[in-house]
């Protein structure tokens, strides 16, 4: 069991299997209504983000991605949590709005580049918050 300390972007607790993306995906135009990656140019085209801990280096794309993430959270098909290396206002806003509207709390966390490299695709992790610190446990 390994623990990584990150920074809280949005609050919440989550657990699940990591889906680590080779490059960032835009929620608008990149994630479809079934929770799958629909961007045909994305290397993980077709992968399902639902209930996974989505790990990608940064956000990407249109500010209307807020809408798409809030809609995924409304429908209960969003990722369980998101881990990034830099904060992203678009993704954060989608989560903040869904928390206000639907009480759907999806944690978003940033980690250092070194810790990012330690989080491997497919591994099970849990995320919990302690103030502004985010505690990520690998293989809990």
């Amino acid at each position: 069991m390994t623990t990584i300390t990150g920074w809280r972007v949005t609050s919440g607790e989550a657990g699940g299997a990591v889906l680590k993306l080779d490059e960032p995906v835009s929620f608008w135009g990149g994630i479809g209504p079934e929770g799958d990656i629909i961007d045909v140019h994305h290397p993980q085209h077709g992968a399902i983000v639902t209930a996974r801990i989505l790990v990608m280096r940064s956000g990407r794309g249109s500010s209307s991605g807020t809408y798409v993430l809030a809609e995924l959270l409304r429908l209960g098909i969003a990722p369980a949590g998101i881990i990034l290396t830099e904060p992203d206002g678009i993704i954060a806003t989608g989560a903040l709005v869904a928390a206000e509207l639907y009480d759907a709390r999806m944690p978003i966390v940033t980690v250092s580049d070194e810790d990012y490299a330690r989080i491997e695709d497919g591994v099970t992790i849990s995320i919990a918050m302690d103030g502004d610190a985010a505690l990520i446990t690998l293989n809990p």
Partner: protein
Amino acid sequence: VAVPLTLTPVEEAMLAGEHGPAVALSMRIITELGRIRGAEELVDIESVHIDGCIFYGQAGLDFAQKLVALGGKVKVPTTVNVGSVDLIHPTLILQNNDREKWVYQGGRDLMQAYVDLGCRQTWTCAPYQMDSRPDVGANIAWAESNAIVFANSVLGARTDRYGDFVDIAAAITGKAPRGGLHLDSERHGDVILDCTSLSPETLALDVTYPVLGYLAGAIAGTTNPVLVGIPSDVSEDSLKAVGAAAASSGGVALFHVVGRTPEAPTLEAALGPNVDAPVQHITAQRLNAARQELSTAREDKLDAVSLGTPHASVDEIGEAYDAIIGGPALAEGVAFYISTGRSVFAEADRRGWVKPLEEWGVTFVLDTCTYVTSILRPGTRTVMTNSGKWAHYAPGNMGVDVVLATLGECVESATTGHVTWNRELFT
């Protein structure tokens, strides 16, 4: 290590609910976003432009209607971007299937919610073409990428990249996080685009500017490009085209044109401390290649022309009038759209241009745009446009092929029904 966001006593009271539940909800979003972005304080804003009024799903409608139910009202003058419906000509919007019907009804309800929140019914992506414009240095919170880049670059106002939900939260609170392009330190040029080798003929063409913008976005990404060698009398419409394309191919939110835009009286002023900014040479060859890349059409038969993305100005409608009226008729089977805002349309009508254009065959699209909602007839395959933004997005959004062309090429092709364009136009 983040510096904590400090609020004034009034802002604390807003957050605590003393100004009502809609203000408190909006303030939670603004302050959380400020914390996430590392802002040390909030800034008072003078106006807001809302982009959240295009219908993408129930969550957006739920948010707007919740703010209405909580008694929300905008605190500063607030304009609205295009919606999903032309409220003046609702039958233009197709309702041929369940999805189109869902977008039509949801789109109408969403637009009504923003009216209920106190927004002006502008329904345009070009709020900068309206009567009141922000002054140089004014802090504003505008959403929609072309409006953002125009306000920062051409007007010299200051807005960061705001998007859906944050826009209305800023309008209801009159606040935004002080960060990003509100700060002097973020507004200097990062990369120089040297256009001095382009011929005077090329610099006088309308279609040069969307192509230039497309290249600028591809080169600059989310940084600030500085254009050198552009005529100092270049029109606002050309600058609009540069910005809209640069915000589509890249994430440009501010560009400078030396000798033309307010923060670039000289190259030195535009660059500030970035004296070693890299230089890219924009040649005619690069422009021709970029235009060919954007032009996906392989068919000879033309189905439609779409002008007015971003919304056409009064001058642009006048130029279309001059190019069309007195010439040949519109070819059978070709649709010809001009998208514009209500106030520009009213002025064009007052000048006597609308009726002759409509009699020739122009369809004016108000309140929305041909690349965001179902207007193009089923079976439309090949469309010509003078907009770099339209050319960038429509193939993905609408499944059509495009040719990015001059106004003259668009009109000539519309009268023959055949796609005609000079692939080596730029010199």
